[in-house]
């Protein structure tokens, strides 16, 4: 019954979407507002419909209806309620429903805004959003239906179907297989939704871009309208990536946060083009140039989102992240092909009309540096894309499987990232339109000199490698320039309005949210860079088997194996928990409890590290569980990760900065009244 409702809602959503596409196209072609309005209503209707479907699925999950194949594959009796809800995105079919639900929510939200100035965009935004929605819903309807149940045939075999096959009876398993233990961690619970939010919300700027191409409104209106959307999409994508890294560090037990796994890269690539896009649109808004490039960037971003989804779900790549192989691959392929071909054809069509309206006057102007920033981002993208695609090519051509691992990516992208850091330091000091070595030099020399303190301190404390010294200098340089910008602005405001320094800062940021939010993001990046340099270059590790009372040392730390407790938990885990006491430079600093959780029903082990975190470093201890564990002897792997907590702090500030940049402004009229600035009044025109 409930499955019928859920599935029915999906089918109706598909039909309504197809209708909406037709209505909007018809309305646009014949200039008939009513049909477009009908399409808009269809768009709005999809949201409650999909909500019904999603809620039915959640209901099935929470009440443990194991006769449904999807429920059986991701939940089990021993799972608590909150985990059953989150298991919605623990499997392919459910996560597709979740994706469609988010897409419908965002697209509906967009159609609810005021469209007075952008009537021509509306039908095409509806078309693109509904086309994407229809695609994902049809994946559920035709291929990955979560509402199918188990049936026992007269022959005794079990089959899976939506409706009862002839003579079959419903088969209800006693228990489900349960969610993959790796997915039960809090970080893993919100990481997929954040990523999906990021992916899905990029559809909106893409839809507007396509609308602009179709209608010929090739000015920057589409950018201005979607400015906040793009920022929000980018916020969620960044948050998803950062959370993913944190989860990997906390739970996967290999002492790292980013493995350059193909599926990680698939999520990273749209972030790269998205960041390039965010910077590049500022140029178009200020100078009226790069219209074509911005189109290319948003098309790329959206295509990479779909492409990344395709890679993860089609089985073309296998990795720890990927969903099991399924039949949706070919359909995805068709959708990607269609999207790319259609977008490029539209762009080709409007190429001439996307001429620039201004000129680039100086190689050191801010526009030029932003373009350089784009070039570097594209460089990183090419490295990532090629690294993901090449094994595929190699296997097809030579039949030999190869691995493209972290060393390739790290070596290729490190100089590019360093270049980006450097630009982060210079670009804020370069003026729009015109800058020379002299003007730039005058602005730069003070922060440059101050920032040299950082590598100096590093050198004195024993660091000799050129890479970390350069890295620390770049981080300090960017920090100095950015803080200098804040200081300059606040001082100017203070001088003019007499506000106290902190208030001046507050109003400063509030007034130019995009700019100062961006600076805060840059500061976040600086801290992340410091953390990354620490853990990547200076990580040390050791491994050893200890008897009870035995000791193992890593640098200034000495660890003593005190005891091992083995017990069962209520939620079906067999836990082996070690107690280790830690001494630093001979002084006791605390106990750590690394553990190995073995999930009995899914027969999967998970190693949870015991971590001591300080600003200086993390002492990270894992029970090596593939060696026999007992209180007589246990094998431990110990990592010392210097500066890694700056990475998480930096991530936090990064998100904070994005919130500042994206924060909606007050009503413009009110802003006018409060501004106290000289403004050309319309009546004077």
């Amino acid at each position: 019954m409930i499955a019928g409702i859920g599935f029915g809602a999906l089918v109706i959503t598909l039909l309504v979407s197809l209708y909406g596409i037709g209505a909007a196209v018809f309305g646009a072609r014949n200039n008939d507002r009513r049909w477009v309005e009908s399409g808009r209503l269809a768009m709005l209707l999809t949201f409650p419909l999909i909500t019904i479907s999603a809620l039915s699925l959640i209901y099935m999950l929470v009440t443990g209806r194991f006769e449904y194949e999807f429920v059986s594959s991701v939940t089990s009796r021993s799972m608590p309620v909150y985990l059953r809800i989150t298991s919605l995105w623990g499997g392919q079919a459910g996560s597709l429903v979740f994706w469609s639900w988010l897409l419908s929510a965002f697209a509906s939200a967009v159609t609810l805004r005021k469209w007075d100035r952008d009537q021509e965009f509306l039908p095409w935004v509806i078309v693109v959003s509904l086309a994407t929605l229809a695609f994902f819903v049809s994946l559920n309807v035709f291929f990955e239906n979560p509402f199918r149940s188990f049936w026992r045939l007269p022959s005794g075999d079990i089959t899976i179907a939506m409706t009862r096959p002839q003579l079959a009876s419903l088969f209800v398993p006693r228990d489900g297989r349960g969610l993959n233990p790796l997915l039960r961690h809090p970080g893993m619970i919100i990481h997929p939704p954040m990523l999906y939010l990021g992916f899905v919300s990029f559809v909106i700027p893409y839809a507007f871009a396509i609308a602009a191409l179709i209608t010929g409104r090739t000015d920057d209106r589409w950018i201005r309208v979607t400015r906040r959307w793009s920022l929000v999409a980018w916020l969620f994508l960044s948050l998803g990536l950062i959370l993913g890294g944190r989860w990997a560090y906390d739970v996967l037990g290999w002492g790292g946060y980013w493995g350059w796994d193909p599926v990680e890269i698939a999520a990273f690539m749209p972030w790269l083009t998205g960041t390039a896009f965010l910077h590049s649109v500022m140029i178009q808004e200020k100078r009226g140039i790069l219209k074509r490039w911005n189109m290319v960037l948003i098309i790329l971003t959206y295509s990479l989102v779909i492409f990344g989804t395709f890679l993860t779900r089609s089985g073309v790549l296998s990795s720890v992240h990927a969903f099991a192989q399924s039949a949706i691959g070919p359909l995805f392929f068709a959708f990607i092909g269609l999207t790319l071909i259609a977008s490029l054809a539209l762009l080709f069509n409007r190429w001439d009309e996307l001429k620039s309206e201004g000129v680039m006057s100086s190689l050191l102007s801010r526009e030029a540096l932003f373009l350089l920033n784009n070039l570097l981002f594209m460089g990183i993208l090419v490295v990532c894309f090629w690294g993901v695609i090449f094994p595929l090519i190699s296997e097809l051509v030579t039949g030999q499987k190869i691995t493209v691992g972290p060393p390739f990516y790290e070596r290729a992208t490190a100089p590019l990232f360093a270049g980006l850091l450097f630009l982060m330091g210079i670009a804020p000091l370069a003026a729009w339109r015109y800058s020379t070595f002299k003007t730039l030099g005058r602005a730069v020399w003070k922060p440059f000199v101050v920032s040299l303190i950082a590598p100096l301190i590093a050198f004195i404390s024993g660091i000799r490698g050129p890479a970390p010294l350069l890295g620390f200098w770049l981080a300090a340089f960017v920090a100095c320039v950015t803080l200098y910008e804040f200081w300059r602005g606040a001082v100017a405001r203070h001088n003019r309005s007499g506000e106290s320094f902190p208030i001046a800062l507050w109003h400063l940021a509030g007034r130019n949210r995009r700019r100062y939010g961006g600076y805060i993001i840059h500061l976040g990046v600086v801290l992340m860079a410091i953390g990354i340099i620490g853990i990547e270059i200076f990580q040390t590790e050791t491994q050893g088997t200890l008897a009870q009372g035995g000791q193992i040392s890593l640098e200034e730390y000495t660890l003593t194996y005190k005891s091992l407790a083995v017990f069962e938990t209520e939620d079906g885990r067999n836990v082996a928990r070690a107690a280790i006491s830690v001494d630093k430079n001979g002084n006791y600093v605390g106990d750590l409890h690394p553990r190995r959780d073995y999930y009995v029903e899914s027969q999967q082990p998970m190693t949870i590290p015991g971590v001591r975190s300080t600003w200086e470093d993390d002492l990270y201890v894992i029970l090596v569980d593939w060696q026999p564990l007992s209180s007589q002897s246990a094998t431990f792997k110990v990592y010392k990760n210097p500066l890694v907590n700056w990475l998480w702090l930096g991530g936090f500030i990064f998100i904070l900065g994005t919130l500042v940049a994206a924060w909606p402004k007050r009503d413009p009229q009110e802003a006018l009244l409060h501004s106290g600035r000289r403004v050309y009044s319309p009546t004077q025109a």
């Binding site: 070039l375 190699s394 190869i402 691995t403 290729a412 300059r488 050309y680």
Partner: protein
């Protein structure tokens, strides 16, 4: 005669003892060298395992892979280390036994050259396109006449945005919007 016989016997005994002792010492040291198979520490094994990937599970480094097979491979590394093999020898052995997949980066031969050449080539191509675009755009300080009334930018001076000739503050945007609308209706 009795005297020389005794000297001869002494000589013989001494020489025999010397020879025998040297033989024992020489053989002893030789055996002593062979007799202590070094058990490599976990760290030594991991240092090499870290550079390789599990041939069975994709994209998992050999030092963290938890499967039975990987445990045996680490055992193999340990064994080869104790036999005195160098890191390169061990990695080559794994390469021969298990294929290219075992390495963290594809070995640079045949088709794999493309792996290393394409990204820098594309980057350079991008840089060239960029600089070409610059040179066609680049102009002396522009005296750009207003070509298009659609994009009139109203600049307001605001000390808090010093160094930034144009701002994106709301009031100007609002005005631009109204202007655009009026112009379009014309």
């Amino acid at each position: 005669m009795k005297f020389t016989k005794r000297i001869h016997t002494h000589y013989l005994i001494t020489i025999t003892i010397v020879l025998f002792s040297s033989a024992v010492i020489w053989l002893g040291t030789a055996y002593a060298q062979d007799d202590s198979p070094r058990i490599p520490s976990d760290d030594e094994v991991n240092a090499i395992a870290k550079k390789m990937y599990c041939p069975v599970c994709e994209n998992t480094p050999l030092d963290v892979c938890p499967t039975q097979a990987c445990t045996e491979w680490r055992g193999l590394i340990s064994e080869k280390l104790s036999l005195g093999w160098s890191e390169d020898q061990i990695i080559d052995f794994f390469l021969e036994q298990y294929g290219d997949r075992v390495l963290a980066m594809p070995p640079a031969r045949g088709l794999n050259w493309l792996m290393y050449i394409i990204p820098p080539l594309v980057f350079i191509a991008g840089a060239i396109i960029l600089f070409k675009a610059f040179s066609t755009w680049k102009k002396p300080l522009p005296v750009t006449p207003i070509q298009d009334t659609k994009n009139v930018k109203i600049t307001v001076s605001d000390p808090s945005t010093e160094g930034d000739p144009s701002t994106e503050g709301d009031p100007s945007d609002e005005y631009t919007q109204r202007l655009e609308e009026k112009l379009r209706k014309m």
